[in-house]
């Protein structure tokens, strides 16, 4: 559902949160991305930065330059000029990342959680498969790896992607850990709500976990050429595909990463249009699963 008009919500003395709607769709994120781009292009007085997420845009403003009511007016004006239908396109690189599903490392992290925090926690892949009416964990892997993911936002930690599946037949749901894990290995792939993420560094976490990629998405040490300009790999509006691989392939890739010779598979030249995407989705047989 798209709100008309969007909801303008205050966040303290320096923030405005704009809610465009109440569901996870490419359309709502297109609205957020485009409004962010318009705001930056028009150099709106008093706007310091924006952060789009799935169906929201967070705006950080300087109250000495614009007050809340005027900011809402300005953002409404920009919103009314946004046209994401038609031939509107966003740049979208496609990255292919190898990933070991049902891997030994996330299994260790789950075991640690059962040993130290909650002995009754069902293993995450089985749990997600059951919750989403899938036959078994193998089908879960086929469904999860069977779609491109849309990087709707980076956040939580620098460079961490919040992603949604572009193939609606691959949309899964999962609750978050309660209480959270104290340890998750770097490169872990997990999901919470309907969002999929990659953990950029070792750390605590709340998503259900089930796979791991050897490709770094955060590197302060510039180990690979992709990190020479910036410590993060992914950008909002990228697309990402997980290519299931074996533990041996993972370890070989990990060695190449540490030697600085790993080639990250990135198709740089692509674009995505909502019109074409919607056309593709309308032709899908939603009963079909992988």
């Amino acid at each position: 559902m798209i709100y008309d008009p969007p909801r303008f919500l205050p966040g303290g003395d320096r923030f405005l949160l704009i809610e465009f709607g109440d569901e996870m769709t490419l359309e709502l994120n297109f609205l957020a991305q485009d409004l962010a781009a318009q705001t930056a292009a028009q150099k709106l007085t008093g706007v310091i930065e924006t952060a789009p997420c799935f169906a929201t845009l967070l705006v950080h403003y300087e109250p000495d330059e614009i007050d809340f009511a005027d900011l809402v007016k300005e953002m409404t004006r920009l919103y009314e000029g946004v046209d994401i239908e038609g031939d509107f396109e966003l740049p979208s690189r496609l990255l292919s990342l190898p990933a070991v599903y049902l891997d030994p490392w996330t299994e260790d992290a789950m075991k640690k959680y059962r040993d130290e925090i909650n002995p009754d926690k069902e293993p995450d892949p089985e749990f997600i498969a059951g919750l989403n009416d899938l036959a078994d964990v193998d089908q879960f892997v086929r469904v999860h790896a069977g779609t491109e993911y849309w990087v709707a936002a980076l956040g939580f930690w620098p460079g961490t992607p919040f992603m949604m599946p572009l193939d609606p037949r691959c949309k899964l749901v999962a609750p978050k850990y309660n209480p959270p894990r104290t340890f998750t290995p770097k490169g872990t792939i997990g999901m919470g709500g309907s969002s999929t993420a990659i953990y950029p560094v070792d750390g605590p976490g709340g998503y259900q976990i089930f796979a791991r990629t050897p490709v770094p998405i955060w590197d302060m040490n510039r180990g690979l050429p992709q990190f020479e300009q910036a410590p993060y790999l992914l950008r909002p509006t990228d697309r990402l595909k997980f290519i299931p691989c074996s533990v041996e392939e993972f370890e070989a890739a990990e060695r190449q990463v540490s030697e600085g010779t790993y080639q990250i598979n990135i198709a740089e030249y692509q674009k995505i249009s909502l019109k074409q995407y919607k056309h593709w989705v309308s032709g899908l047989d939603m009963e079909q699963r992988f």
């Binding site: 919500l9 205050p10 966040g11 303290g12 003395d13 320096r14 923030f15 949160l17 809610e19 109440d22 569901e23 996870m24 962010a36 310091i48 930065e49 924006t50 952060a51 789009p52 997420c53 799935f54 169906a55 929201t56 845009l57 967070l58 950080h60 109250p63 000495d64 007050d67 809340f68 936002a153 980076l154 956040g155 939580f156 930690w157 620098p158 460079g159 961490t160 919040f162 949309k171 749901v173 609750p175 978050k176 309660n178 209480p179 919470g192 709500g193 309907s194 969002s195 302060m220 410590p231 993060y232 909002p236």
Partner: protein, 324 residues
């Protein structure tokens, strides 16, 4: 150069307002938790109010000056001493080469700021010199200061013998109860009337599991509106879950049932609701409170919160300085 003899507890270089402009990449602002005290320390020694200074928390560092300098110590009273002789807080002081500055545990408050005339010379990273310790970026080699490091300082023209007028300093509470301003929103419509009343009438206790990313609060459970219980699955299954969204700095983030105030190094995005936000004018109170102290939240409007930030900024100027 200033040599770090003992680093203290995650003492870090911070500048104000911090790392603005990169929330969409997930970089937090960082910056000082009590920017009121830090700005005044800088003004005392002739720096720009937002220049990089050292934030010391709970246990202060020991620093040896291998050059003459003019310094000022503000914020929590860590009983600063130069070569074992007590020096005044809130005052610019001349240091001669070879002297050692010791900061101890705070008698009152939690965070102390050390400014040096000319300001600490550290590289700028993504628009700020401030440290994001957990992320390993900014400040000195990305982290809190370490024993054995040398901190360099730019040339300054500070003068000793200046002090901050009594009325221009933040008043650190002695009764361990803080009235903290909050602005309602952005996700206030997920909480029911009883939940709002409870939030504003409870004595919330600051948990020891708090740091520069988040301040956890102990108190009663939350109750929610229909919207929190009856929602699309992409929001998540817990009543406090919402489809991932940007988090305002200062958001009171309801993680299941535990409210966590997201502060300077906090996450920029996530999947829990934020029914209230602590505005910038109240951050110094967060910065100066210790675990087990009590917060009572007081609702103010957006415009009131903005005016209070202006009032504090007006105090962080030369007009607040007098000669001793």
């Amino acid at each position: 150069m200033i040599e770090v003899i003992k680093p203290g507890l995650e003492s870090s270089i911070q500048d104000w307002p911090g790392r603005y402009g990169y929330l969409n990449l997930g970089f937090p602002w960082s910056g000082p938790m009590d920017s009121w005290s830090m700005r005044l320390a800088n003004v005392l020694v002739g720096n720009a109010p937002g220049a990089p200074a050292l934030e010391c928390q709970f246990m202060g560092p020991t620093l040896k000056f291998n050059q003459a300098a003019v310094i000022a110590v503000t914020g929590a009273d860590m009983q600063p001493k130069l070569d074992d002789v007590a020096i005044e807080m809130w005052r610019s002081v001349a240091v001669t080469s070879g002297q050692t500055l010791t900061l101890a545990f705070p008698k009152l408050g939690a965070r102390t700021y050390l400014a040096v005339a000319g300001a600490f010379d550290v590289p700028e990273y993504y628009g700020s010199k401030g440290t994001f310790h957990k992320g390993g970026l900014g400040g000195v080699e990305g982290h809190a200061i370490q024993a054995g490091q040398s901190l360099s300082v730019n040339t300054g023209n500070g003068q000793a013998g200046r002090q901050v007028k009594e009325g221009a300093r933040p008043h650190i509470k002695t009764d361990k109860v803080w009235e903290v301003e909050v602005v309602r929103g952005p996700n206030d419509d997920w909480v029911d009337d009883a939940g709002h009343q409870r939030f504003l009438s409870t004595d919330w206790k600051l948990s020891s599991k708090s740091d520069r990313s988040g301040f956890r609060l102990d108190g009663p459970d939350w109750t929610f509106n229909e919207r929190a219980h009856n929602k699309l699955p992409e929001h998540g299954s817990d009543p406090a879950n919402i489809m991932d969204q940007g988090y305002p700095v200062g958001a009171i983030n309801v993680a299941g049932q535990t409210p966590i105030i997201l502060v300077n190094d906090g996450p920029s995005m996530g999947g829990f609701i934020n029914p209230y936000t602590v505005p910038q004018c109240a951050f110094w109170k967060l910065g100066q409170s210790k675990p087990s102290e009590v917060y009572q939240f007081k609702e103010v409007s957006v415009a009131q919160a903005q005016q209070q930030a202006r009032d504090i900024a007006a105090l962080c100027t030369e007009a607040s300085i007098e000669q001793v």
